[in-house]
Symmetry: C4
Subunit: 319 residues, 4 copies
């Protein structure tokens, strides 16, 4: 079976099982969904530069990096306009007169700052028509540019971003008279999330078939919590209908299995829905473990608290 | 049956079958839904200019066109205020003095830029009360105007726009022991869309009845994907309950059939729901074809990638 | 039964039937829901001025009114600061010198404009510490004030507002072998609305019981349309289970009946959900009528169009 | 049973009953959910300062406090830049000359205002390169800073905040031939909320088990109102399936019971969903009471009004 010509039977099945990841998987085992929720599928053929991509990028870089870009653009813009004023001739700015370089450049540069930021002290002023035209252009660019920057600065603050942390491992734990797959999550930010809902899927290579993947939803003991003040342990009981019922650690790993997770909830600070994804590969599932409680012993005054640094703490148990 | 007087029976049926498109169709076969998702029904009697229409227009034109409008408005506004300052008399601006036209106009123009952009170098300043009043007006207009422009510039960046591309053709392909109607989609932008849901309808002229349309929902093999990292092939199996079961290429074309599609999903970059529409006319449905895989052969390091330029590639097969 | 002391039986029923309107109705027949969707119930005891109320008000007034408020505030603010500068003494501004009133006021006023709008020509400048302090305050107020105005201006453009027009009358029309209550709606703006959903309720005074209201949901022949390009006729068939089955024009009017409507849909321009309400009183229901088609005869080139001015056109028919 | 080592049986049950609050409760009886809807569970181990936390904080403080912060930052920033200009030497600003302290400081301070707010009168101007560099930095900081402040000011106005007030007490009232748990709510703001939905849970310590909590959803007589113009009485009938059926005031209090409430609805002013939470502890439930009507007697003109100050008024009745 090559990638281009698939037997009819297989292709149909793939379409059926497809969740948007497709069925082509490489011999090298790579995860489908990275721990941070980004997808491990590259899209080729996208236009090089989308305004959306730039915007997305500027929203997601760190503050120091963002401020470096802003400062860099600001300095470069002023330098370019300084050159433009110099090209307008000796009479362009009132300060030029017999002023030689590089002093002239700096006069032009600081005059540009004066203009771009719409300060306009007037200690230097445009003296000929060419310089006035450049001022006209620079004022417009300054106002539009700073409004874009202002918008992005604000969006960086105001955008709802669920920062839900997942336990490092999923576990297979004793649960009632059987076993269950469990992992737990905690809200790492101070905003409150309510009505949180989880969707969990198992994907693995189909046994016997070369390279083709299958996807199974995993039924949860509770799909949704109304409140999410502390932590939530998401539990898939491995009962007779679970796709995990006949699998063990070896068969899970051998079939490149991966647990895919999508969470969505409502962020109260921003009044918007938020989504988070993550996944566990077979190697990240610990068979025979239990989560350590995250709750601290209650204080004297009765205050209950949870220590989110204990998120990953597990304890081995027999299955 | 004229448009104005319908037999009672027919009108009732129309209301029942109506999806908002109405049942009046012309002899000329025109599509209901354009490929870009806009509707092919004109609304007459709308007020000429809505603020929403202007806003909508300014959001959706290209960047060069948008910037041309902004620049044009900026130049025209300054020119109009230049005229206003000139009308304020010889003493209006400190620069006027004995200055003749057109030099006076340019002084006034650049002073207007100075004011509208709130730079205020002060090399030219308002000298009489009339000019000061115009300055007062221009400052307000400048501040309001630039805030509107800033808002729209920002909205152009920050608005969630699903750019989902549809395969050029829908196909009728072999599927299990029967056939299925399929088309596929890909996310053309770099933003991620999750929880994507599809609604698909078939509309065609009713056989026998003059001009009246009927609408049938098409049941999908999968109505929703949780993840959408690469492509999604949407499949309507043509089973015994499908409205397509007794139709073929000729009868579909003869009855002006059209497949209407509505997609909605959640855009992660903007934390908002997005909708996309499109349609396939009977002529755009290829009978006896299959989609070529879009996935590239996996690379040595195991990276999976999809080539979105292969979206439209189909291959003829016997049905 | 007085308003304050209700027999136990009745109060319980009321709670049960309550939709948020309560059961106290006056002898005067007043509608519950105004045609524009506002409620006809006043809330007493609200704090006098909420920031939300002010914001809401400023979003919903007409543009001329809004601009009048902005201009008014701008002039008044400048006048107040002009007085402040004058109170700072003869040396406050460079222009004051021996300048008498009212010329001094105007100097101070235009200097205030210069400062509030952050122009700063410098032809007048603050000369003593008091004036400088006032400048410091005015600059902050100017920047904050204009940013609020800018935000509201932008929100007025960018807020999703469904402008769905309802037919003036609801009608009782022949429908299949029975009757149906119908009304129709049209999108009056150029933005597109999809996935529109209708909820319709009948409310009337309970027969026999003094003043108490009952509420019944009306089952619709179609609760939701996927597309809404033209118009939608909403139909409640009056079958054996309809609360309208035994009512006629007189009994409907006598019992102060009102048809309450809530529409919600998704606005594509703003990527947000929108809601609209309206209602029909018994007097606004026409018994024995049918809506005239709103579709124009198709043009030669096959273009379909709907004339939204025909929204209200009905034609009498026998029931 | 200590907090760290739980018997296997218990831990499993806890996971099952967990709603995100966890099962560790202290001997001191503390409420889980505060009256204002914040959670009574502390999260330890959060990073000290999140941008989201700062943003959230600045959105939720009172206006006077917010304006105090803004004014404070403005004064401090200008003072810091004043020091920077002084450090640039005697020739930094045109006003310095032989000017001694503190006059020099104030010149520098007011020049900083002039620059930060981008006024730029020009009566004082930067004279050496160091001062010009500081101006360049201050202009950028001013523009970015004010855009952040502007964004937050606007967000404070424009953010949907449901201000739904809850009756001080929940009551156990006679209801049909049985009893019901009731509480009532009112919209305290002038914005309209529609499609309001309530979720109500009972939580109490499990009888017999040490410290472990159980959670039960309470079935409501009506879970959702379409309109919410006045008040809404939320009713849980205590029937044979109610978890409250065998409880009385003493057993409820003894088991640290708490009624947890989540409301969500659609805010029409902001076109967004809003959520509100609250809770009633056992001590806040009044056994044998009924709510006084909030409706005023209808006025002569038929106007109906509700007095939201009567929200908490109850009247004792026998059960």
């Amino acid at each position: 079976m090559s990638v281009v010509e698939q037997p009819r039977e297989t292709q149909q099945q793939d379409i059926n099982a497809d969740l948007g990841f497709g069925s082509v998987v490489s011999r090298e085992s790579q995860r489908l969904l990275n721990k941070d929720g980004t997808f491990n599928v590259q899209r080729q053929g996208l236009p090089l530069l989308h305004s959306i991509a730039v915007y997305h990028y500027l929203l997601n870089i760190t503050w120091p990096k963002f401020l470096a870009y802003v400062t860099g653009s600001y300095v470069i813009t002023n330098a370019l306009f300084a050159v433009a004023y110099i090209l307008c001739g000796d009479t362009a700015l009132s300060a030029f007169g017999p002023q030689p370089m590089p002093a002239r450049f700096w006069s032009a540069f600081f005059f540009s700052v004066d203009t771009l930021a719409t300060i306009g002290y007037g200690n230097i002023s445009p003296n000929n028509t060419a310089a006035n035209v450049v001022v006209t252009v620079e004022a417009l660019i300054g106002l539009l540019g700073f409004s874009v920057v202002a918008g992005i600065v604000f969006a960086r603050f105001a955008r709802p971003v669920a920062k839900i942390a997942f336990s490092r491992n999923a576990i297979i734990a004793p649960y009632r008279d059987q076993r269950a797959l469990m992992f737990r999550i905690v809200n790492e930010k101070s905003n409150e999330i309510v009505e949180l809902r989880a969707t969990v899927l198992l994907t693995r290579r189909k046994p016997g078939v070369d390279g083709s993947r299958e996807y199974h939803p995993l039924k949860l003991e509770r799909e949704r919590v109304v409140f999410f003040p502390a932590s939530w342990t998401i539990v898939h009981p491995i009962d007779n209908e679970s796709p995990l019922r006949d699998l063990n650690q070896e068969s899970l790993t051998a079939s490149d299995a991966e647990i895919l997770i999508l969470l969505n909830g409502f962020d109260e600070t921003f009044s918007q829905n938020v989504h988070t994804r993550s996944s566990y590969r077979a190697e990240e599932v610990v068979w025979g473990a239990r989560f350590q409680p995250m709750f601290n012993p209650p204080r004297e005054d009765g205050t209950i608290s949870v220590d989110i640094r204990k998120l990953h703490d597990i304890q081995r148990v027999a299955l």
